[in-house]
């Protein structure tokens, strides 16, 4: 470091020793009080009471939801089974009608009458036996 740089550093050190900034009279002495007087009082937050119901209610809701889902699925499943068996019967009859070559309502009724007659004859035979 040359002498000029050292001289500048010395000058900076000297300048640091004198504070050119002033404050109003009594400012620093009353600083703490002035600051604290501006701070609001803190209201202690009361923690809400937690009851037994508050603790178990989420589990109750969960259980109720689970039961509801199970019942819904069972209901959907039973509906599905009954509609499948009904449709199977109707499909079987319609296929017989179509295979016979007859497609009109009258032909369908004729077919039902034939089937009913065979059931009635079977019943009569049973009664005589």
């Amino acid at each position: 470091m040359n002498s000029r740089d050292q001289e500048i550093l010395n000058q900076l050190e000297e300048l640091k020793k004198k504070n050119p900034f002033k404050v109003p009279d009594g400012y620093l002495e009353n600083l703490t009080d002035n600051i604290m007087n501006c701070l609001p009082e803190k209201v202690p937050v009361q923690e809400p009471k937690v009851t037994l119901y508050d603790k178990i209610s989420p589990w109750l809701y969960l259980a109720a939801a689970f039961i509801g889902i199970v019942l819904l699925l069972k209901g959907v499943a039973s509906l599905d089974i009954s509609s499948k068996s009904g449709s199977n019967k109707a499909d079987g009859i319609r296929s017989e009608v179509i295979q016979s070559g007859k497609s009109s309502d009258e032909e369908y009724l004729e077919y039902l009458e034939d089937r009913y007659t065979s059931y009635a004859m079977a019943e009569v035979r049973t009664n005589y036996e």
């Binding site: 900034f21 002033k22 703490t32 604290m36 701070l39 202690p44």
Partner: protein, 185 residues
């Protein structure tokens, strides 16, 4: 609590107790307020502005004291709030005066010349002009090291800059200030 008896561990413990919090905060203000005031004053130069920023700093600290976990020193935390408040203020001033960041020192210097609370001679005024010519963050680094001889590690926590970068920043700040002071000689 007298300043020389201030114990940070004890104060932090009492700050966590709602019944003792306000008294403990009074000790914090009593211990740090003046130091913070001068740091702020050297950044913004005007007494009234510095007073406002100091009040805002402690107001924010008070509002958030429950969230202070004690991971960092209380002083670091307070200085960080004060620094951020200064930066916000200076940005607002630039916007109000409609000046660019490169030219922001001119209105402040003119104000300083006529300020009743500035008692410096021409050399002191020239030093302030030199410091004002530094970018704001570098100015903060210069003030913290030059006036308060703050440790680089503490500065690093406050400013969020590495120690190496801070050392370089201070070195160049001193160079710029020195060149400014000697340029008319």
């Amino acid at each position: 609590m007298q300043k020389q008896l201030y114990s940070e561990e004890e104060v932090i413990e009492q700050l966590r107790d709602p019944a003792k919090q306000r008294q403990a905060f009074t000790w914090v203000v009593d211990f740090y307020a003046e130091k913070l005031y001068w740091q702020i004053r050297r950044m913004v130069l005007d007494h009234d502005d510095a007073n406002d920023i100091l009040q805002n700093t402690f107001m924010k600290a008070w509002e958030n004291i429950d969230y202070f976990r004690g991971d960092a020193k209380l002083s670091t935390w307070l200085y960080k709030i004060a620094f951020n408040e200064c930066m916000t203020f200076l940005a607002h001033q630039r916007a109000l005066n409609n000046v660019s960041i490169d030219d922001a020192d001119s209105p402040m210097l003119e104000h300083l010349r006529g300020d009743v609370y500035f008692d410096g001679d021409e050399t002191q005024l020239k030093l302030q002009q030199a410091v004002l010519s530094l970018p704001e963050k570098q100015r903060a680094v210069f003030n913290m090291k030059y006036y308060d001889d703050m440790k680089y590690e503490d500065m690093s926590e406050i400013l969020g800059t590495s120690v190496g970068a801070l050392k370089a920043s201070y070195h160049f700040a001193v160079k710029k200030v020195s060149d400014f002071l000697t340029k008319d000689i």
